[in-house]
Amino acid sequence: MEGLAPIDGWALAAIIAKAAGYAAALVAMGGPLFLAAFRSAPDDVLRLARKLAVIAALIGLAVLALRFGIRAARISGMGPSGAIEAMMLSFVWDSPLGTAAIWRGAGALLIVAVLIEGTIGIVASLLGALLIAMSYAFVGHSLGDPRWILAVLVVTHLLAAAFWVGALAPLHRSAANKDGAALLHRFGIIASGTVAVLVVVGVSFAWLMIGSFSGLFGTAYGWTLIVKICVVTGLLGLAAKNKLQLVPALAANKDDAGGRLRRSIRMEVVAVALILLATATLTSITTPPVNL
């Protein structure tokens, strides 16, 4: 298939590590966004959002270090020993991933400030979320043309995705609370706006990468994107069912509405994991059709 790089064990390891990095970044960014949007949520829900954001930020740093090792091993051609080869690591550090690592590292440290209650903690951690989102504008396909438009699109896409992904665990907790329906209902209202933004900027970015229908159906990038869009469509279906059926059922105290909603949110998590794997595949081993 056109535009597909060689795939070996290292490439697969790189894809899985990148997807894990995406997940960590989205949960870390999503924590402060959730706290800012739902400051009056129950204490246990807010505590969970804070805890997860910090854990995800720290895991994100570990994954970043792992990705440096994987990349050094790949370019060294030496196998596992290349992962700790100083010269190869210095080449990775000098590459766009090094620049991204500085922004992502600074962002992750600022996310830890989410543990400070009050405005300072929120503002610092929101800044951290912005830095992490911006770090993705310094690497890979975002470096194409038109550079600034791609950068704005990718940062917006990531923040909108983080608002959703970072809210999943707190919402899962809320669905078990007696009076959680109000929070879930409010999330549904805000998300209907942010998800629309997420989709519009995602489609715009994809169009700038593809440029034609033949690019969509004739290339590895196009087919991987189609897989991603299929899973995203399924996720949107789940989200619509939650908003239109399960949350109103929870509000009406219907039998097992909370349990069904929690199951549905867990399925959303599985769909998100698949989307992140498809995205990591897209950004690791395929060439955007406009570059072919």
Binding site: M1, E2, G3, L4, A5, P6, I7, L12, A14, I15, R71, R74, I75, S76, G77, M78, M87, M88, F91, V92, S95, P96, L97, A100, V139, G140, H141, L143, A220, W223, T224, V227, C230, V231, G234, V270, L274, L277, A278, T281, S284, I285, T286, T287, N291, L292
Partner: protein
């Protein structure tokens, strides 16, 4: 869900055909060509590439090559075989880091005939 996983696995399993993040590079000797002697091994890229590893393998195993190009990113990479290459099939395997930070790799082969 199973179909989605199958589709993902299928996408990953399809045999690689082209290089990601760079238009197909041209080489000297050309891929699958037959030559009488090899004075230089060249790789040409559209965008600067930092070639981090390169090996030349022939009928008698690895052949030592001297890099003329250093480790800086280049659009034209050159290396010389350090000895006369006997007849046989040779392959060049290289790794590199592209300008946008993607790890790259490629391979090409050629035949040296008497």
């Amino acid at each position: 869900m199973k179909q989605i996983i199958l589709a993902l696995v299928a996408t990953l399993a399809i045999a690689p055909a082209a290089l990601a993040h760079s238009k197909a590079e041209t080489t000297t000797p050309a891929n699958e060509s037959t030559v009488e002697k090899v004075e230089v091994i060249e790789l040409r890229f559209d965008d600067p590439m930092r070639v981090t590893a390169i090996t030349l393998t022939g009928p008698d195993g690895d052949v030592e090559i001297m890099r003329e190009t250093g480790l800086d990113p280049v659009t034209e990479f050159r290396a010389m075989p350090s000895a006369i290459m006997p007849a046989g099939v040779y392959s060049v395997d290289w790794r590199g880091l592209s300008a946008d930070g993607h790890p790259m790799q490629g391979t090409f082969s050629f035949t040296v005939a008497d």
